[in-house]
Symmetry: C2
Subunit: 186 residues, 2 copies
């Protein structure tokens, strides 16, 4: 039996992206963004309302995106609760913000993987901004790689935001191979 | 120790969206899309290259999006392997395509949750199209709801695409509450 829920579309696993940026004075900031995703292989899109991060990215034309991991769920959630307009979240989080080698934005050392982006385009979305970031470099902690040099999600344990129950979850078991499971119907 | 991977950004959990549409003759089709996500609470964005689905959406200005679930990993993967230009994938999949009550696109009955969308905007992305869909209605199978009427991912078991190992995974354990875990730092 199907039930209609109206036009709310928040009903599938979302990412937990930690977006880091500098303000005009070079003060680092970080926020937690659930609405975003990959546009193409080398672009990432994030939607942000009126936040300190929005001002920072417009000022510096750069940001970094780290998918939050289970080991830092407290810090990741904190970045979503506090506001950079009133608090130095970088300092209070205890995490290490260092200048990216490639873009004018900070990398948070403790997160296992970070995408370093320049702003390719800014779109208006009815009061929000949609930033299209060109990924200049992705850096990963070597301890997260498998024997083939690929990122191992069982080691990294990236978080997923379950919006219906407002909880963070990890990635679960493998249930099939891509370009493989479907062979049964080919 | 950090390693630079260059500009490839496909290194975080992606969705498995089954996008369904009709062609000019009313033949239903479905494809598997990993690049997409929520734009705002009532909009969904999907990036598609040159596919039958692209033609269909341009022709009908509508599509539906169902996050694939573990129970249908074979069909979901098949929709990504076969091409609608040469095959009637809807027929071959054995799934049930019915006309949406709200938009000019099919709903695949067996998927537990479907977002029914009209096209709000089409953007060009260097050879690909980025479709911005306005979610007109989201329908869900009542058996996927918890006692409060919220979607329960443990029941639904939506798939996530692990692009580094090209496998489908389910959503895993809860590791913290949103607007809760971070209180330790407030």
């Amino acid at each position: 039996m199907k039930k209609n829920l109206g036009s709310a579309g928040e009903l599938f696993p979302q990412s937990v992206f930690i977006v880091a940026s500098y303000d005009d004075d070079g003060v680092p900031n970080a926020m937690n963004v659930a609405w975003g995703g990959e546009c193409t292989r080398n672009e990432i899109c994030i939607n942000i309302g009126d936040h300190k991060t929005t001002d920072n990215i417009l000022a510096r034309s750069a940001f970094t995106v780290a998918p939050a991991d289970a080991a830092h769920v407290v810090e990741a959630d904190y970045f979503g609760m506090a506001t950079g307009r009133k608090t130095n979240k970088a300092e209070k989080s205890g995490l290490t913000f260092v200048k990216s080698e490639f873009v004018d934005a900070p990398v948070i050392e403790e997160f296992p993987l970070t995408m370093e982006c320049t702003v390719k385009e800014v779109q208006d979305w009815g009061g929000e901004k949609r930033f299209i970031g060109k990924i200049v470099n992705t850096q990963v902690d070597e301890s997260m790689l498998d024997a083939d040099g690929d990122v191992d999600f069982d080691k990294m344990r990236p978080l997923i935001y379950d919006s219906t129950h407002r909880v963070y979850r990890v990635v679960g078991d493998v249930v099939g191979g891509a370009w493989d499971a479907g062979k049964a119907l080919m």
